[in-house]
Symmetry: C2
Subunit: 215 residues, 2 copies
DNA sequence: TGTACATCAGTGAACGCGCGTTCACTGATGTAC
DNA sequence: TGTACATCAGTGAACGCGCGTTCACTGATGTAC
C-alpha cells in the first residue's frame, strides 16, 4: 500500500534515478555546453542502455526543458533565501554572482544565447517573476528621493509586468537597473571577456550598484 | 599574368564564392543558431556538393572562426564609423543596438554563451580592443569631475589592458560601465527577457547612460 | 597564334560515426486474494 | 502465508538520418613557349 502523501519505494527509486540522470546531464553541459548534450552518453555514465532513459524522460527536449526549469527554480530559491536572511542589494548581487560562478553554463541556460525557435515553458516566466518580486521588495526598502527620468515616466504607464506589486515607478526602475547592470558585468565575466584585463568584477558590480543607490 | 596588388579572375571568383558561402552560413545561424550550422546544408544552398566547400574552408571550425572574426570586424567598423561622424556615447549605444538587432545571433556569436573549451582566435581580442579604443576616445571627451570610487582606485593599479591609452582612471571606468550597462540591457532584450513587460529598451539604455554621465 | 602542360574547381562514391528514437522482449518487484 | 497476476525497469537489436571528412576522378581555366 502506498503511503498517502509519501512515496512508494518505486517512486523513491524513480526519483533517485531521475536525479542521477540530471546530475550527469549537468556535468555534460558544464563540460561541453547544451548543444553537446547526448542521451546515449548520459545513459552510459548512469550505467544503463540508451533506450532505458525513455522511462524517465520522454525525449531529449523534455530533459532539457526540465533542466531549464530547475535552473530557474534554483536561482529563485537562492535569491529568496538571501533576501530572507536580510541581504541588501549588494549582498543579493554577491549571492547571485556566486550562484552563477558555481556553474556558468547553468546561468547561460537561462540568460545566454537563445536558440531561435525554441520557447521556454510558460512556468519559467512565473519563476522568473519570483526573482523580480524579491528584487522589488529589496528595492522598495531603499529610500527614494531622486529626480524622475524619461524612463521613469515610461514606467508609470508600462508597469503591468509588475503585476500586483504596489511599487512606485522609481522602485521598478531600480529593480530593472539592478538586474541589467548585474547581468551586464556578470555575463561578460563568465564569458571570459575580461580575461587579460585584470579587473575585479566584484568591485565593478559593487560600484555599479552603489551608483544606482546614489543616483 | 596576375595584376600585382589586384586580383586575378580566379582570385576574384574564389572571393565571390567564399562570400556566398558565408552569406548562407549567416542565414543558417540566424535561423537556427550556430550549433545547427551544417556544411552539407550550406553546400546545397550554394548549389554545389558538400566536399566542394573544402576548396574554400578547411573545416567547419575554420568557417565558424572566420564568421566570428567577421562579426568582430563588422562591429569595430560600425563603432568607428559612428565615432568619426561625431556620435556621443548615447549615439554610439544606439548604433551598436541597431547593429545587434539587425542580426541578434551575430551579436551572440561574440557576446553570447561561450562554448566550454573553444577559444576564439587571438586576433579577435585585437579587434575587440579597437572597439574599446573608440569607447575610450569618446569617454575621454566627457568632462570628469566626480568622486573617486573603490573601483576607480582598483583601476589605477590595473590599467595595463588599456595599453598605451593615456586615459585617466575615471575615463577607463566610464568606458567599462558603458560597455557593461549597454550589454546588460541589450543582451536581455535580444534574448527576449523583456517580452511581456512592455519596456522600451532604448529609453532604459538612454537612462542608464545619462546616469553614467551625471554620476 | 597555337599547342602542351599545369592548376584547380567541383563531382560522386564512400567512410565511420553518433545521434534520437521504436520495438519486442526478459526478468524482477509489487499487489490482490 | 502462498500463489497468480499486473506493473514496470531495463535490454539489445534495429531504424533512418545527417553529419564532417577523404579520396580518386573529370573537365574547365589559365600559363608558358
Amino acid at each position: 500500500m502506498t503511503d498517502p502523501g509519501g512515496q512508494s519505494p518505486r517512486e523513491r527509486y524513480r526519483a533517485q534515478v531521475r536525479a542521477e540522470i540530471k546530475r550527469h546531464a549537468w556535468e555534460q553541459i558544464a563540460t561541453a555546453g547544451v548543444a553537446a548534450l547526448s542521451l546515449n552518453a548520459i545513459a552510459k555514465q548512469v550505467g544503463m542502455s540508451g533506450p532505458a532513459l525513455y522511462r524517465y524522460f520522454a525525449s531529449r527536449d523534455e530533459l532539457i526543458t526540465t533542466l531549464i526549469r530547475d535552473a530557474y527554480r534554483s536561482l529563485a530559491d537562492t535569491v529568496r533565501a538571501a533576501s530572507h536572511s536580510g541581504a541588501d542589494l549588494i549582498g543579493l548581487a554577491r549571492v547571485i554572482r556566486e550562484w552563477a560562478r558555481s556553474d556558468p553554463q547553468r546561468y547561460f541556460l537561462i540568460y545566454g544565447t537563445p536558440v531561435p525557435g525554441y520557447h521556454a515553458p510558460d512556468d519559467t516566466t512565473k519563476i522568473s517573476f519570483e526573482v523580480m518580486t524579491v528584487l522589488l521588495e529589496v528595492c522598495g526598502a531603499v529610500s527614494a528621493d531622486k529626480p524622475a527620468t524619461p524612463f521613469d515616466a515610461h514606467l508609470e504607464t508600462h508597469r503591468e509586468w509588475a503585476f500586483g506589486h504596489p511599487a512606485e515607478a522609481t522602485t521598478l526602475h531600480r529593480a530593472l537597473s539592478f538586474w541589467t547592470r548585474l547581468h551586464g558585468v556578470l555575463s561578460l565575466e563568465l564569458a571570459g571577456h575580461f580575461t587579460g584585463m585584470e579587473i575585479d568584477p566584484d568591485l565593478l558590480i559593487a560600484d555599479e550598484l552603489n551608483a544606482l543607490l546614489a543616483q
